[in-house]
Amino acid sequence: MNANGPQQDIGANLTFDRSRPGRRGVEVSRWDGERAESPPSHLLRDNVNLPELSQGELVRYYTRLSTLNFGVDSGSYPLGSCTMKYNPKVNDLVANSPGFSNMHPLAADENVQGTLGILYDLQEALGNITGLPAVGLASAAGAQGEFAGMLMIKRAIEARGELDRRRRVLVPDSAHGTNPATAAMVGFTVTEIPSGPDGCMDPEAFERELDDTVAALMITLPSTLGLWEKGIEDVVKKVHNVGGYVYGDGANLNAILGRIRFGDLGFDVCHLNLHKTFSTPHGGGGPGAGPVCTTNELAHYLPAPVITRSGSAEEPSYALERPSQSIGRMQQFHGNVGVLIRAYTYIRTLGFGGLRETSGTAVLNANYLRTLVEGHYALPYPSRVMHEVVFSGSRQKRDHGIRTYDIAKRIIDMGFHPPTVYFPLIVAEALMMEPTETESREGVEAFAEALIAIAEEAANEPGLLHEAPTTAPIGRLDEATAARRPVLRWQPAGEGAGQPPAEKAPEKDTAGARA
């Protein structure tokens, strides 16, 4: 690797290290007019220790960093449960057009009728797609949508005068981790329902828990095993029969888009992850959009605002309204409108037929990957899958001392983003793969070939896996030390050489302190 290679460029060589006193990105012209008063002296600092670089140096630095990123525009990104599909550029073209991007969040409703009209149409579209007609768009992420939806259920139970009694939420052990976390955040207690050998809920364990203390069932459908819950209509009926609600985690909607609707199955509330299923850029923490969809019976609890339409078909009038018994706001203003517009564009581009084809191809790709790779890795639930497939590295661990972690790192060397690892928790050494519909046949085959090659390396050249990744900008990181003894703040060279100064060391969260 030459001196300008990536190893040289990052890590040891931050903007602070490149700083030279007096260097400037822009020259601010001298001001000869009246001077404002200085801020009070206690707010002034002598040395703020900001890096000083020329504009060119700074642009090159960040441009270089940006080329080290791996995203859906760089290559295959089969991160299970995250639906990292390619995001068509037309979504950005529309969202970035000046009429949307220059809209002010405080603009009066009558001045942003076009945008409100689009958001209204998106509500309608999502209501049609889920079969749950009342929709609130404002939640900014899937987990926030869950939180909104479960708060709505809590309000409904409270209105029935049953909140003292109904405190339990049933959650299958194949659910997204956010499901039990949401139930607990809302103030319910969580009862975990184990999976049977087929990966579906153990029916006896489920029925044992059914009584009038059940507030709701929260179910991820299809599950994190990529499996459809057999007999879901029956499950829904049984929960309703004891007076509970049914919440659907729609993060895996990509498997059933245009084919199965939560509302038709009898669900009361669900959320969608527009950033996954409806192709908007995500990862790295956001932005997202997690609309919540519900029945007309629960519509008055939706988070504010919802968009309403009045007037004639020729001259409609749109307004932001707060539902009569709204749980409140989830997010400032209208939510992440840029994400909502991208999702709307995606829906309009594909149309109903296109959306339906999306889920068909997503499921086909996952099953094609499954059949190509089966035999080379353990497959704990060997049935046909929906949008994703969960393999296990347990055989490699047992026979060759290779962990799933090593396999994931080696996948980086092969030019792919690693799949989700060690999740779901009910699969040992899990490798959770979701190719999505946007991988071509050749793309799925290339990824399968890489996985098979790695399985062979694990048997014959395990050292390659222990050392991986060797082709990435940064080699293998010491994740254990990073978690045990984190250095949370950059320090200038010489002042403790990367270690926080003792007197300023962040107080560590010691055992028990959170209890």
């Binding site: 962990r403 972690y405 690892v421 060690y422 928790l425 040992a428 994740e479 254990a480 978690a483 045990r484 560590k508 969260d509 010691t510 055992a511 028990g512 959170r514 209890a515």
Partner: protein, 127 residues
């Protein structure tokens, strides 16, 4: 992998070492190996009481975050304070320096429900 004869075990991979109405509790060699590098252990304050099967703490590794379950009921007399700074002790010495809590047994007969080393190992190999 070691499973000392003198300890009692749970199917959820905790161990108990009993002496004079008190007991030390930790996680097994198998559990620490499955979790891999342990980075944080959250343990209850002495004085807290838990029933058998209650979650008494949380253990976090680079792979996963897991609840810790009481193999037997009792009041917490002490917790392993060293783990706050050295969580890796659980990996290095799961039955020794990596112990988690000491409890006063609420009902010593609960120990009878636990597995001996041979039965625990048999259960592991049947998984």
């Amino acid at each position: 992998m070691e499973f000392p004869e003198e300890l009692r075990y749970t199917p959820k991979d905790e161990w108990v070492r009993q002496q004079d109405g008190e007991a030390d509790i930790g996680i097994t060699d198998y559990a620490q190996d499955e979790l891999s590098d342990i980075v944080f252990v959250d343990l209850p304050e002495p004085g807290a009481s838990f029933a058998k099967g209650d979650a008494f703490g949380v253990i976090e590794s680079v792979k996963a975050v897991s609840d810790l379950y009481m193999p037997v009921g009792g009041e917490v007399l002490a917790r392993n304070e060293r783990l706050a700074e050295e969580p890796e002790l659980v990996n290095e010495s799961p039955y020794g320096d990596g112990w988690l809590i000491r409890v006063r047994l609420a009902d010593p007969t609960e120990l009878d429900d636990l597995l001996n080393a041979a039965d625990y190992q048999a259960q592991l190999s049947s998984d």
